[in-house]
Amino acid sequence: MKESLQVVAQKLQEKFGGNILGITEFRDEVTVRVKKTIWFEVHQFLRDDPDCAFNMMIDETAADYPLRDERFDVISHLLSLSKRHRFRVKASTSEKIPSLCPVWKTANWLERETYDMFGIIYEGHPDLRRILMAENWEGFPLRKDYPTEGYDI
């Protein structure tokens, strides 16, 4: 793990303690899994802390695991332009998660897309509408139980 990221990991442990569920590394990429209750706070901390300095959100998305109790993983990719390091944050949720729009404006469309594709409700989002699919579309295409080739009639 990069030295600057070790500092980030350590700071997160100190600040959030038991709410950090695990920090893993794969292919030189660091992922931290947090409880959904601190989803907003952890991002705000990562942006504002001078050692973390993640001033840019690269991506926010989700993945669906229908067999789990909390079926969705919400995933964010962060980048620090000054420290030149990247970080990934994950949390699992069954439906709702706080919106990150107040932290990064770019989260607006990324969350709209995730809502459109998975049906995850971002609480506090200023404008949660469908974006890629039609306004009156039924279902959420990227859920694993959504068929690729249509339903049987």
Binding site: K105, E113, M133, E135
Partner: protein
């Protein structure tokens, strides 16, 4: 019907006797660079609210990818940003290579680098032509199309296709470049160097062009970072961030090039940044050509992932079996997740793959720069004149195939 006529939702202000007018620009309008709808609320000629409505070209690439083997996804990536298919191929392939941990031979990497820069020039040329045409000049578009044609010929020579290249493979390239490649690319770089001077002469100091772009669509550095802009849109605002320089991949750290930066963050600055980028790409290609090894494999030596050479699979039983096995069963990737982003012509083009150990990605997320950059359109246009909307759509350089995926 309500939804179709009024997709932004909210008040129907015409009933309230408001002076505002709602104008739906697109989805079929030449200046929207594809099937983009922009709903603008106007007071007189001033834009008070701007709401881009993407999605008309949505094909569900991410969903399709979940049902395909890693190699089968390469053709899908051609159809994202169809003005720079090679960069899409490359970014996806390098993400998978990172996931499975395979080393790509040196010659293949250099060829990839050269083609990637050629593709950047081709993409910028289309941007240049259409952007300037939106503003009113037609000749530069014809010039740009002429020079892009040479690049398309080079791609056709290598891959057989002009637009849907699918030229990369996991672990290398589809095949080696044909003889005459170096000469053709070299010829192009010399020609293009001269052509670029002509472009600058005709457009860059043109008073009409300058008054249409200077001070239009201003994005400050802080806003650019808040909105997650990448690529020339970020550098136009004066933020020095280029993945080729700051997180070098392939052999960019061995090459000498500069990152052009803007200062005010208006459309004219972004124009200058892209024009200079083409010059720098041209320089990179010239240096890379000199460093390109004349011989060597273009595919990694990994029998589990890379298909055997065609002549062997046609003549020997083992290779034929391997060929069939790989095509039918794919190759499993290790359990894990990884993200790889490269500096595409529009910005950071990234692929995020979650693997569950099967030969298909469990989840593939495409981080499309056009999608993220388009979000800044309301910021640039609100409070300005309707004519500036056209300039602003041109200046962020979007491709709807990538926005909608």
């Amino acid at each position: 019907m309500q939804n179709v006529m009024n997709p932004v939702g909210g008040d129907n202000f015409q009933e309230k006797g408001d002076k505002r007018m709602r104008l739906s620009l697109g989805p079929h309008h030449p200046s929207t660079h594809g099937v983009l709808q922009v709903i603008v609320d106007l007071e007189g000629e001033t834009v008070v609210r701007c709401d881009p409505v993407p999605g008309y070209l949505h094909r569900g690439t991410e969903k399709l990818a979940e049902n395909k083997y890693y190699t089968q996804i390469i053709p899908l990536t051609d159809r994202l940003d169809y003005l720079s298919p090679f960069n899409n191929n490359l970014s996806y392939t390098m993400a998978v290579e990172k996931l499975v941990g395979i080393e790509v031979p040196e010659r293949a990497q250099w060829i990839r680098l050269i083609l990637s820069e050629l593709q950047r020039i081709a993409s910028h040329l289309i941007w240049f032509g259409t952007h300037v045409m939106d503003i009113g000049a037609i000749t530069p578009f014809l010039w740009a199309a002429r020079d892009r044609e040479t690049i398309m010929d080079i791609f056709e020579m290598c891959s057989g296709a002009r637009l849907t290249l699918s030229y990369t493979r996991i672990g290398g390239l589809m095949s080696d470049v044909p003889p005459g490649f170096n000469e053709k690319v070299h010829e192009f770089t010399e020609l293009f160097h001269k052509a670029l001077k002509d472009y600058n002469k005709v457009v860059s100091k043109n008073p009409i062009f300058m008054s249409r772009t200077q001070g239009v669509g201003v994005i400050t550095a802080e806003q650019a970072i808040q909105y997650g802009l990448t690529g020339p849109s970020l550098r136009g605002s004066g933020v020095e961030w280029d993945l080729r320089k700051h997180e070098p991949y392939m052999y960019y750290d061995q090459l000498d090039f500069e990152i052009p930066l803007g200062s005010t963050g208006d459309s004219y600055d972004r124009y200058l940044v892209r024009m200079e980028e083409m010059e720098q790409s041209n320089r990179i290609i010239q240096q890379a050509l000199a460093k390109l090894p004349s011989k060597g494999p273009v595919k990694a030596d990994d029998p589990k992932i890379v298909l055997p050479p065609k002549e062997l699979s046609m003549s020997r039983a083992e290779e034929m079996q391997r060929h069939f096995y790989q095509v039918i069963h794919g190759f499993p990737a290790p359990v894990g997740e990884c993200y790889f982003g490269l500096e595409g012509p529009k910005g950071e083009l990234g692929f995020y793959i979650i693997s569950d150990g099967s030969p298909r990605p469990y989840r593939l997320k495409i981080r499309a720069p056009s999608y993220v950059n388009l979000q800044a359109l309301p910021l640039m246009t609100e409070g300005r004149m309707i004519a500036d909307v056209i300039t602003c759509i041109g200046t962020i350089d979007i491709v709807l195939g990538e926005v909608d995926r």
